[in-house]
């Protein structure tokens, strides 16, 4: 009879082989070759989707002390250029950093989140809305993301985020 370790290895190999075979025949199986890890987290399930705000409407909120803008893109993209005054908060940001942003919203009534696309920012915005848990704070996504903002010739700046821990 096989020893315990050998039987355990056999079980793991058989299970893995069955899993790969089942995945290969499934129409909705995950692609092993073409898979690329997501650049942003999946947002929480359920709840109504966050509102999407066009750049021309978002710019009217600039300078409003009740508004905070958060950039959900990777650090390199943020450093290349971002909405003036935005804080950097990618999906994979440390929890403490996200909590800092949430705490900065005490005197705010609107949080605008943007990415390279609308879809990139949406899960981050939904996650932040869940964490904030305040109905008086409106969380919105910038339609078209930073490219749309930049293309509209609206205020931008570049360089690392001075208030973000991962940029230090």
């Amino acid at each position: 009879m096989l020893p315990l370790a050998a039987r355990t290895a056999v079980l793991l190999v058989i299970g893995a082989a069955v899993g790969l075979a089942a995945n290969a025949v499934r129409s909705d199986g995950v692609s092993l070759r073409g898979y690329s890890p997501p650049v942003s987290c999946e947002g929480p399930k359920g709840g109504h989707p966050v509102e999407v705000l066009p750049p021309d409407r978002a710019v009217r909120l600039c300078g409003d002390p009740g508004v905070l803008v958060a950039d959900a893109r990777p650090p390199r993209r943020f450093a290349e250029g971002h909405v003036a005054g935005a804080v950097h908060l990618p999906c994979a940001a440390p929890q403490a950093e996200a909590s800092t942003v949430v705490s900065r919203l005490t005197a705010k009534n609107t949080l605008i989140v943007y990415g390279d696309t609308t879809e990139e920012a949406r899960p981050v915005a939904e996650e932040l809305r869940r964490r904030i848990g305040r109905p008086d704070v409106k969380v919105v996504v910038l339609d078209g993301g930073f490219p749309a903002w930049n293309q509209a010739g609206l205020a931008c700046s570049s360089g690392p985020c001075p208030e973000c821990t991962e940029h230090k």
Binding site: M1, L2, L4, A5, R7, T8, V10, L11, L12, I14, G15, A16, V18, G19, L20, A22, N23, R26, D28, G29, V30, S31, L32, Y35, P37, P38, C41, E42, K45, A92, P94, Q95, A96, E97, A98, E127
Partner: protein, 142 residues
């Protein structure tokens, strides 16, 4: 008494792994995202998402209904998986990454301290299932 505990461990742990595997099978793409979000081995997320649910289901079924020597192997396999899951969850928590656990497919909660506690309890149960062997009737003293 030992046999009752052994049965309870087998049914509880085996059943939990079968359910967890089936829930993960429902959406392999979402499970791959959950794995990638741990930021440990994101390039292997798809491979793990394809293999892990079947391994969990097989280990769970063998633990419940397999022949005695293989039941211990299934418990050992579950213990190994629990070590990996616990390390991954603790690593995410230590790095402050706020992610969905992915433990039960789309029904999973966030990774937090309770996730670690649950994983450690399940690891202990799996080790107990490996160590605890029902005393054969013939070996029972008269």
């Amino acid at each position: 008494m030992k046999e009752v505990v052994s049965w309870a461990l087998r049914l509880g742990l085996g059943g939990l792994f079968v359910v967890a595997g089936v829930l993960k099978l429902r959406d392999p793409g979402a499970f791959a995202t959950d794995i990638a979000n741990y930021q440990l081995l994101p390039q292997y997320a798809a491979l793990l998402a394809a293999m892990l649910p079947a391994v969990e289901i097989l280990a769970g079924l063998v633990l419940i209904a397999g022949p005695a020597p293989w039941r211990r192997s299934a418990a050992a396999a579950i213990a190994l998986m629990m070590v990996v899951f616990t390390v991954a969850a603790a690593s995410a928590l230590a790095r402050g990454i706020d992610i969905s656990c992915g433990c039960f497919g789309g029904e999973s909660g966030r990774v937090d301290g309770l996730t670690i506690v649950r994983d450690v309890v399940l690891l202990a149960a799996a080790i107990a299932a490996v160590v605890l062997r029902a005393t054969p009737r013939s070996a029972t003293p008269p």
